[in-house]
């Protein structure tokens, strides 16, 4: 024995409430999911403190929900942060320029309070070159930069990143608008720099120095993801692949070239060397004759994104049918119903399907009908996520789909012409969408379209018990529709509505609901200013934003209560009203 200060063994363990912080923090490190960490933090004051001090990842779903400084102060150990800005409908041009969502305050606060920050991700925000320069100079171990649907920066800002971030692993630029300053941003990676694992510049319009790119790719032996832009021609893709046969994900950039058999042979040989390739994408104005060059990688592919590819016909279908292990397929409606039937028969592991319209503004020829979706949902047992643009739909098809696939988590159907009824019965599509929500008990995201009455919303409100995001356009008859949604849908986080006859009453009757949600967007509905004022007064923790026609700037205080409101955007916040509104946005 003789163990100095040891007490009797049985009494040694300290009670729960006095566990040292390090023990708590270590325990919490096994809770990666933010929801679990939030639950732990709510247990008691001690756990709240331990959790917030040890939080490593922070996701801010609405940049105006909290002030950047407060977020940084509250969670001082964050290593990875993601911030989202503009509302989703900004993707479709419904939010005019200069709306807000500047990344600068977040970058500044992070630079001050998170010197050890390693990852930063911005979505739908305005990121300036100054932001990028600040990122490059403020975080000595910065590793991952992801910008999705952002704007406000140029290749000069990218040069600051490539020059300054010595430990960069990922530079992922997805669908951003980047000003081309003809800066040789790629050349700023030092020759000694080898840590890159992901490089995605597919959204960049301009040229890059190919020799520099080739050298970069050669020396970064851990490069797993490479997504090129339109400026890189096909033969260059082949030589890059030879330098990086370890690639897991490739975006090919521009794929159109006249057929030359020697180029075909080069490509085929290059792809044959890529044994690890699992994900393929690219802006393919693809010449079908080149598709067979990819055949050797088809079997290994789990993800195929042809949503920018205008290739069609039997070559496309033959190509996809070889991808037996596909889990994710994004494609244009050029594939048509018969192409999807082949997909249904070949890709039994499919989990996610997105079909985009090749001619969104043309009126005419229905390229894709309900048949394609019915076939895929019948034959792909793991299909759980769908985005489908088509010309027509029936209740019968939707009911069949619902019966076949109760495991849907995301169902987004867009019938191109608003208010299109069931084309066989001419009835509304209430029955079809009701079947979807009744059957798919785990549905988290839903977009409805076609002719719909208030009744479908009754069904959605009653059955959408896991629904987090709902998008509605040109649907419903009356206030009742909105009331069903707001009084039901227990877990609703985001609701976006356009062109529906929903008015003030359901909004005011369900005001409290809005605080349980992240945000509500209503445009071209039947709202008036008075109701928005009432809502704002009743719910101080909501910001109620009104958008007028840009250029028509009457101060909202002077307008009468019955003035119609074109766009309403409401969100919960602990930061109070924002101070960076443009002249066409007013906070009531």
């Amino acid at each position: 024995m003789g163990r100095g200060g040891a007490r009797d063994g049985a009494a040694a363990a300290p009670p729960w409430h006095s566990l040292p912080d390090e023990v708590l923090e270590h325990a919490f490190s096994f809770l990666p999911a933010a929801a679990d960490r939030g639950a732990a933090a709510a247990v008691c004051h001690g756990w709240l403190g331990a959790e917030r001090r040890s939080r490593r990842r922070l996701a801010v779903a609405n940049c105006y929900a909290a002030a950047p400084r407060d977020a940084v102060d509250r969670f001082p150990s964050v290593r990875a942060a993601e911030v989202k800005g503009k509302p989703h409908f900004a993707d479709f041009g419904l939010v005019p320029p200069a709306w807000g969502a500047e990344a600068a305050p977040w970058v500044a606060a992070a630079a001050d309070g998170w010197p050890l920050l390693e990852e930063l991700s911005f979505k739908r925000m305005v990121v300036t070159d100054e932001c990028l320069e600040m990122i490059a100079s403020s975080f000595r171990n910065f590793q991952v930069l992801r910008l999705v649907s952002c704007e406000g920066f140029s290749t000069a800002g990218l040069a600051a990143i490539t020059e300054g971030c010595r430990n960069l692993r990922e530079l992922d630029l997805q669908e951003n608008y980047i000003e081309d300053c003809s800066s040789h941003w790629l050349s700023y990676f030092p020759e000694s720099f080898t840590s890159l694992e992901t490089l995605n510049f597919s959204c960049l319009e301009g040229e890059v120095n190919f020799a520099v790119l080739e050298r970069l790719v050669s020396r970064c032996r851990n490069l797993k993801t490479l997504k090129l832009n339109n400026a890189i021609p096909l033969d260059k893709v082949a030589s890059l692949l030879r330098k990086a046969p370890q690639l897991v994900e490739l975006g090919t950039g521009k794929f159109s070239a006249e057929y030359h058999s020697d180029l075909f042979a080069k490509l085929e040989a290059a792809f044959a060397g890529c044994k690890s390739l699992r994900r393929l994408s690219g802006a393919w104005d693809a010449v079908p004759d080149y598709l067979p060059a990819f055949y050797c990688v088809c079997e290994g592919l789990t993800s195929l994104n042809l949503s920018y590819a205008t290739v069609r016909g039997p070559e496309l279908i033959k190509f996809i049918s070889r991808c037996k292990n596909l889990q994710q397929l994004w494609v244009m409606d050029l594939i048509e119903d018969h192409g999807l039937a082949v997909v249904a028969g070949s890709c039994s592991k499919l989990q996610e399907l997105r079909v985009f319209p090749s001619d969104p503004f043309g009126a005419g020829q229905v390229l894709l009908t309900e048949r394609g979706l019915v076939d895929v949902s019948a034959s792909c047992p793991m299909l759980e996520s769908v985005l489908y643009f088509c010309g027509q739909m029936t209740n019968e098809a939707l009911i069949t789909i619902a019966k076949n696939r109760p495991n849907f988590t995301c169902f987004r159907l867009c019938i191109l012409e608003p208010r299109t009824p069931d084309y066989v019965t001419r009835e509304s599509l209430d029955a079809g969408f009701s079947a979807i929500v009744e059957s798919c008990k785990g549905l988290r995201r839903l977009s409805v379209s076609g002719l719909l009455t208030d009744l479908v919303f009754k069904s959605i409100g009653a059955n959408g018990n896991c629904l987090e995001m709902l998008s509605i356009a040109f649907a419903g008859n009356s206030d009742l529709g909105l009331h069903y949604i707001l009084s039901g849908c227990k877990t609703l986080k985001k609701l976006e509505i356009r062109d529906c006859p929903f008015g003030n009453k359901p909004l005011l009757a369900n005001a409290a609901k809005l605080e349980t949600m992240r945000s509500l967007w209503m445009s071209s509905c039947s709202l008036t200013l008075g109701a928005c004022r009432q809502l704002a007064e009743k719910m101080p923790r909501l910001t109620v934003e009104i958008m007028n026609d840009p250029g028509r700037t009457c101060p909202v205080e002077s307008l009468p209560d019955d003035s119609p409101v074109e766009t309403l955007y409401v969100y919960r916040t602990i930061a109070g009203p924002r101070s960076d509104t443009p002249d066409y946005v007013q906070i009531v």
Binding site: F92, G93, L94, A98, P357, P360, F361, D549, T567
Partner: protein, 164 residues
């Protein structure tokens, strides 16, 4: 009768239950009807800010084009047909021109807003009425607003803001 550049449709209170934006915001001046209201049916609750609808008599000639609505169908601009949409903009009486990316604007309203930011009234004639014109492929100058917005984006080579 004083004319000014207005974004409001012609006063037509009858056909749709909604009040016109112009009335609602207290502006009563008669406006140059640059945008023809889409007055199809009153089941169509309209698009508020969108004034780019074809007038009925234009629909026949539009032939194979779907009626244009702002932001519909919901496809991102990356998935839309692309054009080289950066065009030069010059304003009469202002020596330095600007450039604007038409494809990043979903409607005339948004373009007008951007132009107002680029050419604030303090740099030129205060609040004078003006018209925005664009040069087409064949060299003709057209008034912005006559054809659906998407068509303007595809065909405009440059813009000129003229004082009326």
């Amino acid at each position: 009768m004083e004319l000014e550049l207005g974004l409001a449709p012609p006063n037509d209170a009858g056909s749709c239950g909604k009040r016109r934006s112009a009335e609602a915001f207290g502006v009563k001046k008669p406006t140059l009807p640059l945008f023809l209201r889409d007055d199809d049916d009153d089941g169509d609750h309209g698009n508020g800010e969108d004034d780019t609808g074809d007038a009925r008599d234009c629909e026949i000639s539009m032939g194979n084009k779907r009626k244009r609505l702002v932001g519909w169908p919901p496809v991102k601009s990356a998935h839309r047909p692309r054009s080289n949409s950066h065009v030069k903009v010059k304003m009469e009486g202002v020596p330095i021109g600007r450039k604007v990316d038409l494809s990043r604007h979903a409607s005339y309203h948004q373009l007008h807003h951007t132009l107002r930011l680029m050419f604030p009234s303090s740099t030129s004639h205060h609040g004078d009425p003006y018209a925005v014109t664009y040069e087409e492929g064949d060299g003709d100058w057209m008034l912005v607003g006559d054809v659906p917005w998407e068509d303007t984006v595809m065909s405009a080579k440059r813009l000129k803001i003229l004082l009326v």
